[in-house]
């Protein structure tokens, strides 16, 4: 890593950026316009998010607090858990632990900095991780391994059995820094009694691990309180899912990003509730007026990104969708698989519910919720098994009236690259044009955004979609 990069702590840099973003709207419109001139490579992110109104401002507030919690955890007497996007942080909030979700922390660095997270990603390779490992963890992990972030006390991941590259990043960090580590492991099936029981047994093991690390027992009253918040958030999300089915969709493309980024950081947290309430309010008004959420006001096409989105430099991908009049109907990260969503009816035995009756049912609910997090729910088994990726993708594409399906990931996503061609072939046979992006969602060096955009243009043209 270049010495000058090592001069600055990454987390504090990011928090500084987010504090400015959060306060950006405090000035006059004229002041904001003037300020935009001085942030040419961050303008796209800031403008797009803040143009979403109150929700945009709350998102920055949420992220600012998220970073602050990590940075100041020690002085506040709290422990920090390094974890992954497919792990629900609500349990950590219930146990008074601060979550640090690597992929989110990488993602916002990629979006906000012209140079992206390249230096930090490469630092992971300097200390031994292969460059074929997933960039989504390597960004923040590099900064962490280089000592440029507040310390983390222990690590939890839930990707073994689903994504080796994800799990390897956490296992590597644990061995490299000698940090305690717990892996939640998922079987290849879901919905059957056997796998449901496995989820619970494994989750209970994890609770014992966290209790040992924090020195505090799980407070079930606090868990109930957090789950009530999750329950309300799930209802708000289900409302948004219903509105996303409308044609045109009243959601803007960036709303999708806000919904899942907020959930990965702050599920069960009041700030996330405020974020969702603001999105619902905005979207409801558009839905009642029959308006599209796109800036152009005209939805020409509806695209379903069946895996993840594209997070490099300046929200380019999202702004591209807006410019082209393409409605974003979500990706694998968007769906929570709560039993109050319409789409879960199309995928039998896929959903979780929340049962407040007893401490045991609370914990069971949390375990089943976690097992339905993105990726760990639907990529765990062969893609064409009941309830897995194909069934989920087809159900969503049909229900939300997608005109096409786009795959985007990273070269580290071997769990999907291993089956992507047969999967895409099956989707095509069901009538959905499929585009496979060969880039890295977090690293523009693999394929520049300009090249990725050209290929998207070509896809829409050749398939007669635009």
């Amino acid at each position: 890593m270049r010495p000058e990069i090592k001069e600055y702590p990454y987390d504090r840099l990011m928090q500084g950026l987010l504090t400015v973003a959060k306060n950006f709207t405090h000035g006059t419109e004229k002041e904001a316009e003037l300020a935009y001139r001085y942030i040419p490579s961050y303008r796209g992110v800031l403008k797009t998010v803040l143009d979403a109104g109150e929700a945009g401002r709350i998102l920055f507030e949420l992220l600012d607090e998220y970073y602050a919690n990590i940075i100041h955890a020690r002085e506040r007497g709290k422990k920090v858990c390094g974890t992954t996007f497919c792990y629900c942080p609500a349990i950590l909030y219930a146990m008074d632990i601060v979550p640090a979700t690597f992929e989110v922390l990488t993602g916002f660095g990629c979006l906000g900095w012209k140079r992206g997270m390249f230096d930090y990603m490469d630092y992971c390779c300097e200390v031994g991780m292969p460059e074929t490992s997933c960039s989504s963890q390597r960004g923040f992990l590099g900064a962490f391994l280089a000592g440029l972030c507040a310390d983390i006390d222990f690590l939890i991941c839930d990707s073994p059995g689903v994504c080796d590259t994800n799990a390897t990043a956490y296992a590597f960090a644990s061995a490299y820094l000698n940090k305690p580590f717990y892996q939640l492991n998922y079987p290849s099936s879901i919905g059957d009694d056997r796998s449901q029981k496995y989820h619970i047994d494994d989750y209970k093991g994890m609770i014992r691990f966290i209790e040992a690390q924090s020195g505090k027992k799980l407070d079930y009253d606090r868990l109930a309180e957090i789950l009530r918040e999750v329950d309300y958030q799930d209802r708000l999300t289900a409302d948004l899912e219903d509105m996303l089915m409308l044609v045109p969709s009243p959601l803007s493309s960036v709303h999708n990003l806000m919904i899942y980024a907020g959930r990965f950081c702050a599920s069960g947290h009041k700030l996330y509730t405020r974020l969702l309430e603001a999105i619902v309010k905005d979207v409801k008004q558009k839905a009642e007026a029959g308006l599209s959420g796109l800036k152009s006001g005209k939805e020409r096409l509806r695209a379903f990104t069946c895996y993840i989105d594209h997070y490099t430099a300046d929200l380019n991908f999202w702004n591209y969708l807006e410019e082209k009049g393409i409605g974003h109907i979500g990706c694998i990260l968007s769906r929570n698989f709560r039993d109050n969503n319409r789409y879960v009816q199309e995928v039998p035995k896929s959903a979780y519910g929340i049962d407040f009756s007893t401490p045991d049912t609370l914990l069971d609910s949390m375990a089943q919720l976690n097992a339905r997090m993105p990726m760990v729910r639907s990529i765990r088994g062969p893609y064409d098994m009941p309830g897995m990726w194909l069934e989920e993708s087809l159900a969503i594409a049909r229900l939300y009236q997608a005109d096409c399906i786009i795959y985007n990931g990273t070269p580290g996503c071997r769990n999907t690259w291993g089956m992507l061609k047969p999967f895409a072939r099956d989707l095509e046979r069901q009538g959905f044009p499929v585009h496979i992006m060969n880039d890295d969602a977090f690293d523009d060096r693999v394929e520049s955004w300009e090249a990725a955009k050209d290929r998207l243009d070509e896809f829409f043209k050749v398939r007669g979609l635009l």
């Binding site: 292969p130 073994p160 590259t165 062969p382 070269p411 071997r414 291993g418």
Partner: protein
Amino acid sequence: METFLDAATKIQCRSVLDWKKSGKPIVGYTCSYTPPEIFYAAGILPVRMRGIETEGTDIADAYFGSFICSFPKSLLQLAGKKTYSFLDGAVITPGCDSMRRLDECWRTAGKDHEGIVPGFFYYFDVPHKSEAHGFRWFVDELKMLIHAVEKHFGVRITDEGLKNAIRKFNAGRRMLQEIEAMRSQKEVVVSGTEVFAAVIAGAILPRDEYTRHLERWLAELKRRKKSLSKGKIRLMLTGSASDEIHLFQLLEENTGAILVAENLCFGIRSEGNEIEEKGDPVEALAEHYLAQSTCPRMYGRFGERLSYIKDKVKQARVDGVVMQNIRFCDLHAAENALYERHLEPLGVPCLRLEREYGPMVDAGRMKLRLNAFLERIKKADRIIADENESERVDDLPDRKPLEAAR
């Protein structure tokens, strides 16, 4: 040795073809977590699937994506070419992200290439942990596999049959342990290539035939007097799954090195320990194949794996560790770096090599790097010898770091 070499270098080796001619079924499996004892007990020949003899991956590339390890691609390529047409069944295990997708890719390829998917095609779900619930899950998986084999092949697998299979396989394991002990001697009479061929053959040949050959070979080894290790650098090979005898030959032939230990999926590590012959045989299999596993897919057990390597280094007087990984195998690539970080300060030189699986297209590059590595060890040995006026430092904790030699 001729039978072992035949089995280790040919997919359709003599013994497999003979078995096929007898009309009895053969089942292929992809991972060391699948107990061959189950198939033995059913009168079925279990054959560990290998990717040798692959000349390209044009068929496999049509199904697997770009960023996938070339080992499962080679298996699919061979299936597509009908090299595995002798299989009556296949068991696919989620050993890693790449390997587990062989399930979908093979089935899809079967829609385009008629007759390449065996009649019995089974997904065997192995957990990533061996704590109580993981162990129970694995025991259930074994029972379901047994039931599926019984149903498909119309056979009966009894506890007694399983116990008998365990006893038969243990007999071979004991002999392999004896051979492994020979490799730890100061003067080694057997090459790494020979031992590897013998271990690979154990995963291919009918077990009774294998045991007979192993007995004879062990007796012959005991008669050998000529040291193959004199003046040679003693290497250990670790890393990604490898069944390529050519890799061993590359490391041993005309290099001044001898392989005295491995930590490989196809190697002795899967055969090393005996299975409990008393009690419930299914639980005994689970204990061996899951709980004692040293594969990096079992996350959070890095310490155990490091200890295993350290013990091997000490036991077999290893001078240097060659750590290879197949490109896109993050499991081994990441752990290799961690091993290096722990072993180098202890004075154990390490070489990390990334490579492609298959027809050794990068043999020249690997040879060049190996030679440089061996030179480094020789130079370091000379420095240590000069400083200590002794020939070799055998005790690992007392080893001197080789910083001076770099």
